[in-house]
């Protein structure tokens, strides 16, 4: 069961470079293609991205979720820290708020914290809810993305 004392807890900040190859790989995966020649060229070709009005190679809308898995032991590590039982864990809701574009080679710092922990419902039907919020800030100090993840334990 989620450990309520973790409400408000801030995870260690994590800084990473948005790798160009990783963007293309992700775009291939979500568009269910076999290779990059089949996807929207803005995700691998700088010229195509510029032509489409970007200042670099942009990331697909859900790309930054990946950073969650690259640090702190990923989902398992995060669940352990929060006392969440992995076998009962469900990802219920995900929200992104975009404040600016994220491009290949940007250096992103992620700040994540536990913003809510509550119990919903009664008895056998009750679920434990944990809400994580992350802010992603680029190398110029600009907030580019905010994400909110609602996890539940059934």
């Amino acid at each position: 069961m989620a450990d309520k004392s973790k409400l408000g807890m801030e995870f260690p900040t994590y800084t990473f470079v948005v790798e160009k190859e990783k963007i293309a790989e992700f775009a291939v995966a979500v568009s269910q293609k076999d290779n990059r020649e089949q996807i929207n060229p803005i995700y691998y070709d700088e010229e195509a991205a510029t032509k489409a009005g970007y200042q670099g190679i942009p990331v697909p809308p859900t790309f930054l979720t990946s950073s969650f898995f690259w640090t702190g032991g990923g989902l398992i590590g995060t669940a352990n820290i929060l006392g969440i039982d992995l076998s009962r864990l469900l990802h219920r809701e995900e929200e992104y708020e975009y404040f600016g574009n994220i491009y290949a080679n940007d250096v992103i710092t992620r700040k994540m914290k536990v913003v809510d922990m509550l119990k919903k419902g009664n008895g056998k039907k009750s679920v434990e809810v944990t809400v994580l919020e992350a802010e992603l800030i680029n190398q110029r100090g600009e907030l580019v993305l905010k994400s909110r993840s609602r996890l539940i334990e059934k």
Binding site: V30, P61, T62, S66, L75, E93
Partner: protein, 149 residues
């Protein structure tokens, strides 16, 4: 081609998007691309141990497919918000029984414009979206907000 704010009315539909039937290869590819290596998504022996019949797709892959559906219509750079609530799990297609399993693995993303408004000096739309399989089972519902030229 950019979609213009003035060309869109409340009640308009977003172009429907139909995914390829999701295969285990797609799940492995998404696992690698995202770093989400939960064995629930690709290891048949693991799912048996926890009492399930089949591996299931990453919820975030279905959201990623919905993101692809949206950005096939509205340029990525115009997105301001994207929210989904996950409703049910998705099993991939079985190669030894494609006829009976391809529909459960095919995701159809549709949407409808519910609001036009100005915010932060931008002309924005809100579009409610839904992703369901070809049998009609709902996978996720949510919305996106975009600022349009």
């Amino acid at each position: 081609m950019d979609v213009n704010y003035d060309d869109i009315e409340v009640g308009n539909k977003m172009p429907a998007y139909t995914s390829a039937p999701i295969t285990r290869t797609h799940l492995v590819r998404y696992a690698g691309a995202s770093g989400d290596f939960n064995p629930l998504h690709y290891d048949q022996t693991f799912v048996k141990v926890i009492g399930m019949n089949n591996v299931i797709a990453h919820g975030m892959l279905i959201m990623g497919i919905a993101g692809e559906a949206i950005t096939s219509w509205i340029e990525n750079k115009y997105l301001r918000k994207f929210n989904v609530r996950f409703l049910s799990m998705t099993e991939p297609v079985d190669w030894d029984d494609t006829e009976n399993t391809k529909d459960r693995a095919t995701i159809i993303v549709s949407g409808e414009i519910v609001k036009k408004f100005e915010e932060n000096g931008e002309k924005r739309i809100q579009c409610d979206i839904i992703a369901q399989d070809a049998l009609g089972s709902k996978k996720l519902s949510g919305f996106f907000i975009a600022a349009l030229p």
